[in-house]
């Protein structure tokens, strides 16, 4: 079984976000980058499936060279090889087009990725990839098993879970608890250095979106403590200041 896992390279959840170039770009100075947490779960499940069923796991990242430490980490966790599409990921359509282009050349049985990245959080890349390849895509998938050429999986829906099965190939957007989160071990780290990492140039894609400007969310207001006996004041403030009633 050939599995492709697509990973994003996103700022650490504790990073302080600021903007550069007249608020049109993320200021990357001093930011620690990590593999997207949902992608981490997808990768962990891919490695487990490989251990159970045999096959290979290839990691794909659309990004610049500064993201290679995260790719090496994915190799340390258990992927066999990696491909980096050498381009700044400008929008979901661009990223999906690059993934689809690579997938068309390699006949993967499974294409896994996080249900969304945690920087732009579009959550549409898996759907776009499925559409471009002409194969079904499902998200958010929280349980996944493979039996022969069939995937049996559970998807989160409003108020519960939907249990489904479908023939491979498939695209999945994944989330916890699809697998136990994996920390690279010493052996994995030492072998990751020599695993193949292929760098390819992107295919041309028309710009579908232009980021004009980013802004920070408004600062949190001061917390007001209202005594429990003064419910009327609370209601008044909710009406006049918070304007939620």
């Amino acid at each position: 079984m050939k599995i492709l896992v697509c990973i994003t390279n996103v700022p650490d959840t504790t990073a302080k976000i600021t903007f550069a170039e007249s608020d049109t770009k993320l200021n990357k100075t001093g930011i620690q980058f990590i593999i997207g947490p949902y992608d981490d779960y997808a990768l962990a499940r891919a490695v487990e499936l490989k251990e159970q069923n045999g096959g290979t796991v290839t990691v794909l990242n659309v990004g610049e060279a500064e993201g290679e430490p995260q790719i090496r980490k994915a190799l340390a966790i258990g992927a066999d090889d990696a491909i980096r599409v050498n381009a700044e990921p400008t929008d979901s359509y661009f990223v999906a087009s690059q993934i689809a282009h690579i997938a068309q050349q390699n006949n993967y049985d499974l294409i896994l990725m996080g249900r969304e990245s945690i920087d732009f959080n579009s959550g549409v890349v898996h759907g776009l990839v499925g559409e471009m390849l002409g194969i079904p895509s499902f998200s958010p998938v929280m349980k996944l098993d493979i039996e022969g050429s069939t995937a049996k999986f559970a998807r989160e829906i409003d108020g519960g879970k939907e249990y489904m099965e479908a023939p491979l190939p498939l695209v999945f957007g994944c989330q916890e608890p699809i697998a136990d989160w994996k920390i690279p071990n010493m052996r994995g780290i030492m072998t990751a250095r020599t695993k193949p990492l292929q760098v390819v140039e992107p295919v041309a894609v028309d710009d579908m979106a232009i980021n004009e400007k980013y802004t920070q969310p408004a600062a949190k207001g001061e917390c007001k403590m209202i005594p429990v006996e003064d419910v009327e004041k609370l209601v008044t403030l909710l009406r006049t200041e918070a304007k939620v009633l």
């Binding site: 504790t14 340390a76 989160w181 920390i183 690279p184 780290i189 030492m190």
Partner: protein, 602 residues
């Protein structure tokens, strides 16, 4: 979201910009590593800390291990960590490839240890002991012993302890009475009791290998008659199955801190036969055990820095968020209150912590780098690193643990009344930290080792040895206009230290050891400050050079500037103490020396 427990930027600065790890990886033994592997290992350690250590820190403090029917049960979260740690491969990481290790430099392993300990200092005692015992077996064990024990220990299948202390002997190991009676083929029947045995019993692993100091029947009195024995909790029977080996848990101590790790009172051979196996040669046990002890001493110093780092991060965050009072010159009562980080006295307390944590981390990692270079050196060069480590290990242990406590004290004070409550972790950190100046050799013992043994031996050669390490760094700093003043201050303090050392050595000749060693702890303080001042000058020199580069970013400029300013703080507030210490050390009135004819303590 995980709360920060250490500064990643500072750790990387010390490893890559100050220590220069490429000097280590240039050696064939370590050349499988590079900054790329180091970074991945440090990040993996951070994830391990965030997943298994930090979330468990408070919980295990409230639920102590329990001794029931002769068996200790530890908290389930300790089990989870132990298994995750062994799966990570970190247990064997520094060991040679032939033992399934990765030949990781000890310096990087120490950085990993710092990350883990800053998240939860008592969990790592379980794993540290296994690594330490495995290292002693690797150096001194027979081929059969290595083949039997090392794979089990390095895979984490079996755990280990070291058993030195006895109730009647305490720090005075020459008075231990545990006996070993020959029982054929390097086997002995062990009989005696040991106290304060960390991780001496637990329900995580199927077996525990105790390294026990004992006297073979008829051995000479004192330290020259002590041997070292491998004593398994369960010994392999004829069919290979493990059978109880007469090691009993007869008591568990209820401690002030570090509650995740049981401190045990063990009895060997009390109600059944306890078989021990001689490690190395008879009567050389203390020498072997000191291999483990020296490693443990560096780890204790590092633990002092680690918990101080957690306390510093906690108090720094609190000071940034806690709004209280107004700045001293704000006369208008309508002025909004200021975050307490703006008040000079709070800043002073935070700077004490920053200067200690960052400076002492650099010193201890420097010691680990000497260990790595020792590993790959031969002949006189090997002896050089050995001598440096003999000299600096007691300093790293003592300065890290004593000043670590002082640093945590400052964090408690920054939090005010909240620091005294269980709402914040600093009260727990303070309880945990208090053991560091006590175990693995008290501050008094370390100080006597420094002044009584390391300094005077070979005509006080250690003074020159240390000075030769420091002087090149002073010379470089003297050439910098910005650092000249501080390099000069350090130079003068070193001259004063040399002068005091000479005077003390004369006192030794004229008035004996008791007068000579009476203020050994003050001498340790003095030498500790000089060592950390040296590290700060090195760091400031690197920062100063980096600031003159053309490509440094604004954020990085702030980082380097902070290093130089913290160096100045250390020199102003700590190095200046050397003058007073020198005066105390040379005082004619030796009031602490026991005089039965004029006892003061009445």
């Amino acid at each position: 979201m995980a709360v920060k427990t250490f500064s990643r930027d500072h750790l990387h600065f010390v490893l890559y910009e100050v220590l220069g790890m490429e000097e280590v990886t240039a050696h064939e033994y370590f050349n499988g590593h590079s900054r790329e592997t180091f970074d991945m290992i440090l990040e993996a350690a951070t994830e391990l800390a965030e997943e298994y250590l930090q979330p468990a820190y408070r919980a295990v403090d409230r639920e102590e291990p329990q001794l029931s029917d002769g068996q200790v049960k530890v908290h389930p979260l300790v089990h989870k960590f132990y298994h995750a740690y062994t799966e990570s491969g970190l247990m064997a990481a520094t060991f040679p490839n032939e033992w399934d290790g990765q030949q990781l430099p000890r310096t990087i392993a120490a950085a990993v240890q710092f990350i883990l300990s800053s998240a939860n200092n008592s969990f790592v005692m379980f794993t540290d002991l296994v690594k330490g015992v495995a290292n002693v077996l690797l150096q001194f064990g027979s081929e059969e012993q290595k083949a039997l024990y090392l794979p089990k220990l390095l895979s984490g299948q079996w755990a280990a302890t070291m058993c030195l202390t006895e109730s009647q002997a305490g720090s005075s190991l020459s008075d231990i009475t545990t006996m070993a009676v020959p029982a054929g083929e390097a086997a002995y029947h062990i009989k005696g009791q040991k106290i304060f045995i960390s991780a001496g019993d637990q329900d995580i692993t199927e077996n525990i290998i105790h390294l026990v100091l004992a006297r073979i029947e008829g051995a000479p009195a004192g330290v020259k008659g002590i041997s070292l024995f491998i004593v398994p909790k369960n010994r392999p029977g004829a069919d290979g199955k493990l059978v109880p080996n007469g090691v009993e848990s007869i008591g568990i101590y209820h401690k002030m801190g570090q509650k995740a790790t049981p401190a045990m009172h063990l009895e060997f051979g009390g109600s059944g036969t306890c078989v021990g196996y001689l490690l190395g040669e008879a009567n050389r046990g203390l020498q072997y055990m000191f291999q483990l002890m020296n490693s443990a001493r560096l780890e204790v110093g590092l633990a002092g820095v680690s918990v101080a780092s957690l306390a510093y991060c906690t108090s720094l965050q609190y000071a940034r968020e806690r709004v209280q009072g107004r700045r001293a010159d704000a006369k208008d009562p309508n002025t909004p209150p200021a975050p307490i980080i703006q008040h000079p006295d709070v800043r002073r307390m935070l700077l004490i912590q920053k200067a200690f944590t960052e400076g002492t981390l650099a010193l201890i990692l420097q010691c680990y780098k000497y260990l790595d270079l020792l590993k790959v050196s031969e002949g006189p060069q090997k002896q050089h690193y050995l001598d440096l480590l003999e000299l600096l290990t007691p300093v790293a242990k003592t300065y890290g643990s004593e000043e670590g406590n002082r640093s945590v004290y400052q964090a408690l004070q920054v939090l005010g009344g909240y620091g005294y409550t269980t709402d914040f972790p600093v009260e727990q950190i303070a309880r945990d930290a208090r053991i560091f100046p006590v175990y693995e050799g008290t501050t008094g013992i370390q100080s006597i080792a420094l002044l009584g043994r390391q300094i005077p031996q070979n005509n006080a050669q250690a003074v020159d040895l240390w000075s030769e390490q420091v002087m090149p760094d002073i010379q470089v700093a003297l050439e910098s206009e910005a650092l000249q003043l501080y390099a000069d201050q350090l130079n003068q303090s070193i001259e004063a230290w040399k002068s005091v050392t000479g005077l003390l050595l004369r006192i030794r000749e004229e008035r004996g050891n008791e007068a000579y060693l009476a203020n050994a702890t003050l001498y340790m303080q003095l030498f500790g400050i000089l060592n950390v001042a040296w590290q700060w000058l090195r760091m400031a020199t690197v920062a100063e050079k980096a600031l003159s580069g053309s490509t440094v970013t604004t954020e990085r400029k702030d980082f380097y500037h902070s290093k130089i300013q913290t160096m100045k703080f250390f020199y102003n507030y700590e190095l200046t103490k050397c003058k007073v210490l020198c005066e105390q050390l040379t005082s004619e009135e030796q009031l602490s020396v026991y005089n039965p004819e004029a006892e003061i303590l009445i």
